[in-house]
């Protein structure tokens, strides 16, 4: 049984971390602070809200309800009926492409550019 750490292991780990860094840098370069919050339920658009206007939205889906709070230019899931509450623990989002996903309720909250129509992304 050979269990020793080899040079290949280090190369593999370095390559994976480098790949993550590259993807992250590209993502940071292309994303900006967005203007529109788009909510989809089960793949269909549910609501489209401006990020600069403070509001609270109740999202009703077949799975239950999610409460989305937009405040201070950031969108945050503040309550959810799902058992795990992963979406509630998610940090508030504000950059284009950032997404909060509630898997049990199939709710996706994502940030888009104000100018972008975005419709083709979801159909």
């Amino acid at each position: 049984m050979r269990t020793d750490t080899k040079k290949n292991d280090i190369i593999l780990i370095a390559a994976l971390l480098a790949a993550a860094a590259v993807v992250f840098v590209i993502w940071m370069a292309v994303s900006r602070t967005g203007g529109t919050v788009v909510v989809t339920v089960d793949g269909d658009e549910y609501a489209r809200l401006p990020l600069d206007k403070d509001t609270v939205l109740e999202i009703k889906s077949s799975g239950g309800t999610n409460t989305l709070t937009i405040s201070g230019g950031k969108a945050d899931m503040t309550a959810a009926s799902c058992p795990d509450g992963i979406c509630v623990d998610h940090y508030p989002i504000s950059r284009t492409g950032e997404t909060i996903i509630c898997l049990p309720n199939k709710v996706i909250v994502t940030i888009e550019d104000a100018s972008e129509s975005g419709a083709d992304l979801y159909t």
Partner: protein
């Protein structure tokens, strides 16, 4: 490979499935939340890695699948089971292939397995939600997979070194 009696093999199977099940339960009870969905230590992967080295690929696959189904039916949900299964299968496939290549040690194989596990879950999430948006998590999950996979790999190495003396 040394021949093992059926009874010994069955006992080992049962033990590893039970151990994996307990690890899954511990992680279910004490989730480490970093505000990023899908990031967890993957304690049960410890069993997968150890099984891969001590029992062989077919046995490891059986243990992983049984463990995921048991955990899913006992304290998870069908959707959770789907994600775990995708992660477990992809992780197993990558680790079995890398081990077969003989070019990597336990830590490297476990790290690749951790990354593959996260990638598998991400692919299922993208398919279920019908959006490619989930891939924005990819860099985070990649780093998380490397870290958790490396930790599990180091621990597996320690376990395997001790298991060497038990025949």
């Amino acid at each position: 490979m040394r021949r093992e009696s059926t009874a010994k093999k069955i006992a080992l199977f049962g033990m590893l499935v039970a151990l994996g099940f307990v690890f899954s339960f511990v992680e279910f009870m004490l989730p480490i939340n970093l505000g990023i969905p899908g990031v967890k230590l993957g304690l049960a992967n410890l069993v997968t890695v150890v099984a891969l080295y001590t029992m062989g690929p077919t046995e490891t696959l059986i243990i992983s699948v049984v463990r995921v189904m048991l955990a899913g039916f006992t304290f998870g949900s069908i959707s959770m089971m789907l994600y775990s299964m995708a992660g477990a299968l992809l992780s197993f496939a990558v680790m079995a292939l890398l081990k077969k290549s003989g070019r990597f040690g336990v830590v490297g194989i476990s790290t690749a397995g951790g990354v593959a596990h996260n990638a598998g879950q991400l692919i299922v999430a993208a398919a279920v939600l019908e959006t490619a948006n989930t891939f924005y998590y990819f860099p985070i999950l990649l780093v998380a997979g490397v870290l958790t996979g490396a930790v599990i790999g180091f621990v597996s190495k320690l376990i395997l070194e001790r298991l060497k003396h038990i025949k």
